[in-house]
Point group: C2
Chain length 401, copies 2
Amino acid sequence: MSLIVQKFGGSSVADAERVMNVASIVTDTYAKGNDVVVVVSAQGDTTDDLIDKANEINPKASKREKDMLLAAGEQISISLLAMAIEKLGYHAVSLLGWQAGFETSSAHTSARIKRVDASRIKREIDKKNIVIVAGFQGLSKYGDITTLGRGGSDTSAVAIAAAMHADLCQIFTDVEGVYTADPRKVKNASKLSEISYDEMLELATLGAQVLNNRSVEMAKKYNIELEVLSSLTKASGTIVKEKSKMEKMLISSVAKDTDVARISVTGIPNVPGLAFKLFTKLSAKDINVDIILQSIGHDGKKDITFTIAKDRIDDAVECLNAYVEAIGAHEVLFDDTVAKVSIVGAGMESHAGVAAKMFEALYDAQINIQMISTSEIKVSVLIDAADADKAVSAIHAKFFD
Amino acid sequence: MSLIVQKFGGSSVADAERVMNVASIVTDTYAKGNDVVVVVSAQGDTTDDLIDKANEINPKASKREKDMLLAAGEQISISLLAMAIEKLGYHAVSLLGWQAGFETSSAHTSARIKRVDASRIKREIDKKNIVIVAGFQGLSKYGDITTLGRGGSDTSAVAIAAAMHADLCQIFTDVEGVYTADPRKVKNASKLSEISYDEMLELATLGAQVLNNRSVEMAKKYNIELEVLSSLTKASGTIVKEKSKMEKMLISSVAKDTDVARISVTGIPNVPGLAFKLFTKLSAKDINVDIILQSIGHDGKKDITFTIAKDRIDDAVECLNAYVEAIGAHEVLFDDTVAKVSIVGAGMESHAGVAAKMFEALYDAQINIQMISTSEIKVSVLIDAADADKAVSAIHAKFFD
């Protein structure tokens, strides 16, 4: 008998029919002799509907009250799923974040899990209940409801798996697993049976939003075996674990991210610390900078180019224009018609020439590389957005065909 | 400076505009130098929408999960009201039932408040917050969310007023107060400025559903002054207190209840205890019996006639038919075209002839009385439903014109 944590996202419980489908997956797992803890997100569009209600009244409402409002979403989905499981003849009990023992920081709307006191969950399992836990939410030390931010339900599931030493944490989603590339775009893309935590982490940050990054980090830290699989098919998914057998492959996946923009600040006087301060300004506005390129421009002045998330362009340009004036730099330029294409694979660590092979694929496809960034198990290039799909296909063909 | 508890029902917070209206009432009260605790029900049709969702999945869901589901309704309304108050420039904090210290029995869907630990509410008031509490809900000793049943938010408000020794508990509703009769039906009906707890209790059980009965009982027990008033007008309402100045009036109000049915069981053998057992059978099915009339029929057998709530006819007839067969009685008859018309007034206790005056009014209006029931401060008659409005007008004219 194993202890299995199963997590279902909002689209998996969007309506009565899908809730019943989830109930049948859960009860099948339980009927095989496993203890089951289920983590659920809010139904389909509930969160967006609640945000609309709030915005109609006060778009600048406090984060504490936003959390209070949004947490109602999972309360609805957990109770409905419990009812569906009861209908199938099994005992279920739904628990809110605070009832399930989720203690978080008090950073409303993006709280961090500090501790999961799983005693209530354990008591319910001892009573032979299938336990359904509201994902995404917890309680601060001040006794206030908090939420974990986007994708927080994945993290909730892994946190429970860690606290209870679960044998497996299954993340059900609308794709069948992790692929060598986006199967809707690349015809030879194939599902990976296994992938390592590190590879999954790189993919999560590269726009392949199968799993929330914080959840993978936590799974790695506590060595929780994850499985990414579909709630709509019976196919087995992709296992995420410490060392995958995929490591003999050079790379495991090709990903693209079109949610990026390139910004350049030109003519920065060659004074030590000026570049550093520029990034401090952006950081103060919570703008994350990704690939950075620094070059000596004319007259001994520097140009700095870097990428940020596309939706932060306005904030970044406003912030930088003020800075450019203050330090006597030349101007701020930006381009939002770029895309980041990346290859990820633990095999790179021990094999030379992987990056070269990627650049060769791009060269053969006549695609110009604007910027390059590498880590131990990743190579990313910034290219024209119009070339992104062609680039992924060309690279995928080079490594997998 | 006073401590005022204000309660707003679901229709008062049905949409963004009404939530803003409530926020302005609350902040006006606060701006006058009062501490304010607000109790809110779920928005308009939220509770019914949630019940529909549950029924689609499992109409026989456990009461525990129904409570979990329904409690999400107030969570939405309290946070929206807090946001509306923030928009008006005041500090507000919303609290769920369990956060506000509502400890209840574990009778899900109809829990009773056992204790209100108001320490969190007091802390928030000390911080100069307007405190918004979810009505209708609490926590059982097992750590499970409970609800108090229909009208429970009134009781929540009075319970907080009692726990905090509030100076006044205002119940905002869609009528301006308690009237001498239904103002939509009786043209000379007038608003009472005061009424006693006992009179209010009789009215609440007689179909004049201005206040939930449990809330009036609790207000009487802890001597909490209530005010019933409208959230849509600025008019003062009706004060409910121990001794009202209305007591010199013979009666305070005329009410009708059309949600009743009359049932007769005929030809019951004249054996001691048979009638008692009949009511035990009904009680076991949670069917409440109101006016009872027993008469000797033919052949030394008895007829028993009584009234019940109209929506329990099917259950009652089914239950009684089985009993009639078992004891050899004749048959079960029912009539759902009846109405109960009542007069209520503490003045009756010290004045003879009040009932006679009521019967005279009905006689003058050519209305036949089927059954009569009296208490110290109430006289009720059962009449044909078609005569109900005419009866109320005739009685009202007799006493008030």
